[in-house]
């Protein structure tokens, strides 16, 4: 988006602390993956499988992490579920919480974590680790978590900026060649910058790690961005996925 439109953004949503990417498109809905690639070094990106970006349908495109802001328009009805098992979300029971769901919902982004570009045998045990290393929330006091729910609805947290702060334990295993879906929770409105480090033992290069910062914009309702009339900016598009 242009600097002018971005200014509008900040005034409307009170994004004070965080200066977002200078030029970025917005993923409004559809299936995308935070892509973990490795070609003589790490390549963290966003792979839009099929989705709506700045009001246009996009199929099979890759973006740099700072070239695509992921919209989070889904506020949990009734707020955070009760029970200590949910504490890693970082707020109290019934508190306002926004979610990117592990289950696809029409009209909302559906964001997985994929390492489908990494061939079997490229990494030892075909295992990659994705570690949370930094969370910059709109107010500085918000919390981010990544979790699944099991077959009986119990949450299982892979990452949380709340419990014990961010440590090396805030990590998940991603199978090389695979693709997983998680719930991502946010405790306040506004623009978030979240940094992950991908690591693993490469079969030729040995132990290796690389980082990427992704941007999430938590908004009050799905229609808000459309009302802003965001222009079509595709500066970050990298072309068809390999």
């Amino acid at each position: 988006m242009t600097g002018m439109v971005k200014g509008t953004f900040i005034v409307l949503f009170g994004v004070g602390m965080l200066a977002g990417p200078a030029t970025a498109a917005v993923l409004q809905s559809g299936h995308a993956d935070l892509g973990l690639g490795y070609e003589e070094g790490w390549d963290l990106h966003i792979h839009v499988e099929h989705g709506m970006v700045d009001g246009l349908p996009v199929i099979d495109e890759e973006y740099e992490p700072d070239a695509l802001i992921i919209l989070v328009p889904n506020k949990l009805l009734g707020g955070r579920p009760a029970g200590a098992a949910w504490d890693p979300i970082g707020n109290g029971a019934a508190a306002d919480t926004w979610l990117l769901s592990a289950v696809q919902q029409v009209g909302m982004p559906f964001v997985g974590i994929g390492a489908e570009e990494i061939a079997p045998g490229g990494f030892v045990n075909d295992e990659l680790t994705l570690t949370l290393t930094q969370v910059v929330s709109p107010s500085g006091a918000g919390h981010f978590a990544l979790y699944t729910t099991d077959g009986f609805g119990q949450p299982q947290f892979g990452m949380s900026s709340y419990e014990g702060g961010i440590t090396a334990a805030d990590a998940i295993t991603v199978p090389a060649g695979g693709h997983l879906h998680f719930n991502y929770s946010f405790t306040e409105l506004g623009l978030w910058a979240i940094t992950f480090e991908a690591s693993g033992t490469h079969s030729v290069d040995g132990p290796t790690a690389g980082s990427g910062t992704y941007y999430f914009h938590v908004v009050p309702e799905p229609a808000t961005l459309a009302l802003l009339g965001l222009g079509i900016v595709l500066a970050g598009r990298r072309g068809k996925a390999r």
């Binding site: 579920p81 719930n183 929770s185």
Partner: protein, 311 residues
């Protein structure tokens, strides 16, 4: 499964859609009944279903591909194995002992599984877990052109958010043949920890609400529950709505000679099921030419076809 929770909106949505199909426009296309075979701690290999799928990622593929349903079993992400396609008849979806669970009490909201406290049951989980089959549904093989041929429709089913207009594929549970006392269920838990129970043979038997709607082109994972060991034969029928009119048998946006040549072998008398030669199926004939949706292709349908024929 009983309809008490969702029936009003669900039925309303279905009726609205059926009314729409009576006119030109969204055209209901159904698959044949497809049977998937689940072996819950059964003896393997099973000579009737020799391809045992265990401890890997597998999808039940339900795509509408090149103008027809192509149900398949698709093991993928198998270390060193790559992707392949298996005829559902040949695949044994294996539920091993690591999928066996015993609960001291039934969590509220999960009664539909049909479990008894302290008695083991089996779950293929919605999340990846080492050691068990990770089974989902996929129609990712649909091309942009395949997807473009589908109509948007609203199933009116709040479960899984299927109460907005989109290109949905309906997976209807038709029948389950399993061990004595064995119940089959299919559900998903949400990010808030609540259960969306899509199918349950325990809760009120099999009815038209034992249905799971997935988005065309998507890939999802659910929990599959079983309450007794043994072989389960699970029948699904998938359906969706096309933008093409009925009579357009090749989905090319017209009703012409290419479509007309398929008519003769489908036509029978009133109330006679079509009996075409393979590979055309009776269900193909009904999808193509049963304009009045009465289970046959007769002169009444032929009259409507003639009116639609553009040459």
């Amino acid at each position: 499964m009983t309809r008490r929770l969702i029936a009003p909106t669900f039925i309303a949505g279905t009726l609205a859609l059926l009314a729409a199909t009576a006119a030109a426009g969204p055209t209901l296309v159904q698959s044949e009944i497809t049977t998937f075979y689940f072996g819950v701690e059964t003896v393997t290999p099973d000579p009737d279903h020799p391809d045992t799928l265990d401890n890997c990622h597998t999808d039940l593929d339900v795509p509408f591909l090149s103008c027809d349903w192509r149900p398949e079993v698709s093991p993928n992400d198998v270390p060193g194995g790559g992707d392949r396609q298996v005829d559902p008849e040949d695949a044994l979806l294996y539920v091993n002992s690591a999928a066996r669970i015993t609960l001291g009490s039934i969590p509220p909201g999960f009664e539909f599984i049909g479990i008894t406290p302290g008695v083991p049951f089996w779950v293929l989980p919605q999340n990846y877990a080492a050691g068990v089959l990770w089974l989902g549904f996929s129609s990712e093989t649909m091309s942009p052109a395949d997807r473009a041929g589908l109509s948007e429709w609203d199933p009116g089913d709040p479960r899984g958010g299927a109460n907005v207009a989109a290109k949905w594929i309906r997976i209807q549970l038709v029948d389950v043949r399993g061990p004595a006392g064995g119940n089959f269920s299919l559900w998903q838990t949400t990010g808030m920890g609540q259960a969306d129970a899509f199918m349950s043979t325990y809760d009120g038997g099999i009815t038209d609400v034992d249905v799971y709607h997935v988005l065309a082109g998507s890939h999802t994972h659910v929990n599959f529950g079983f309450t007794q060991p043994g072989l389960y034969e699970v029948d699904f029928r998938v359906s969706t709505y096309l933008v093409y009119d009925r009579g357009d048998t090749d989905c090319d946006a017209d009703v012409d000679l290419d479509d007309f040549v398929r008519l003769p072998e489908c036509v029978g008398g009133p109330d006679e099921a079509p009996a075409p030669a393979a590979p055309v199926t009776a269900q193909n004939c009904l999808n193509w030419f049963d304009f009045d949706q009465d289970g046959d292709v007769d002169l009444a349908d032929y009259a409507v076809f003639q009116a639609a024929y553009a040459g």
